[in-house]
Amino acid sequence: MNRVLKACAVTTAVLGAVLAASAPPASAAIANGKALDVAKQAVVARVDLRLAALTRFGTELAGAKQVQAGHRSTLTTLINDQTTELKALRIKVGGETTGAAVKADAKTMVDDFRVFILTGPKVHLTAAIDTELVVVGKLRTHKDVSQRKLDAIQSSLSGKADSLLNIKPGPDGDAIRAQVKPIRDAAKSARQQLKSLKTA
């Protein structure tokens, strides 16, 4: 009888140990949940930075009076569309239940939008280039300004804003930066040349 009781006790203890080992500890489950919340909050914060930037770009675009109508329309649509889509992504992130899904959303947030390395430059450089073209037009009436130099500046800017606006976001950030750089350089160079013509 004692042997039977002892065997039952040992079996129960072993069974209990096996069940306890197979179930995840309560503390680990809580830790996993907290880690997921932290990850979600971090991505949401980054989405919010992009939404704030888009708001700022919209304000700057509204204040850039020399932007050509077609460019303004393209930029307005771009800003509005990205704002809508990022807001939807923000909601999606909040509903994710796995770290992998949050990580995928973070990648989408960067690759599909490129708010900082592409949308921002599109707004600022288009405004700069369109304004510079207006300056070229105004300097045409100045008799002491070289028309040949104005032709060169205009030629250096021609089509640059359209090319910039045609650049698409994507996973290769370096490639996007490489496409934007010559347009940025052209805008800066034109600015310097126009300044030197004005003060000559």
């Binding site: 930075l49 900082f116 405004a127 004005k198």
Partner: protein, 86 residues
């Protein structure tokens, strides 16, 4: 009784004084409610081509210095550090 009447009189004076105040912000611009990005209406500003030979139409009142200053502002905005890695 007398004290009750005095309190009622004081309250009445306060209320009457408040009624004379002008309504606040009757014609102020509407404030943003939740900080969301505003939807921007499409501008129909006249003029503007991208051809090499054409000149965009501009407001005659803007002088060259002012326009170059605007260019500086746009280029400066472009050169600002980004808020996040992209």
């Amino acid at each position: 009784m007398r004290r009750t009447f005095a309190v009622a009189l004081a309250v009445g004076v306060l209320l009457l004084g408040g009624c004379d105040r002008q309504p606040a912000q009757s014609s102020g611009p509407p404030a943003a409610t939740d900080g969301t990005a505003p939807t921007i209406g499409k501008s129909t500003r006249a003029g503007g081509t991208t051809s090499a030979g054409g000149q965009p139409t501009a407001n005659g009142a803007d002088d060259v210095d002012s326009l170059l200053s605007d260019v500086d502002k746009h280029l400066n905005s472009d050169s600002q550090p980004t808020k996040d890695a992209d």
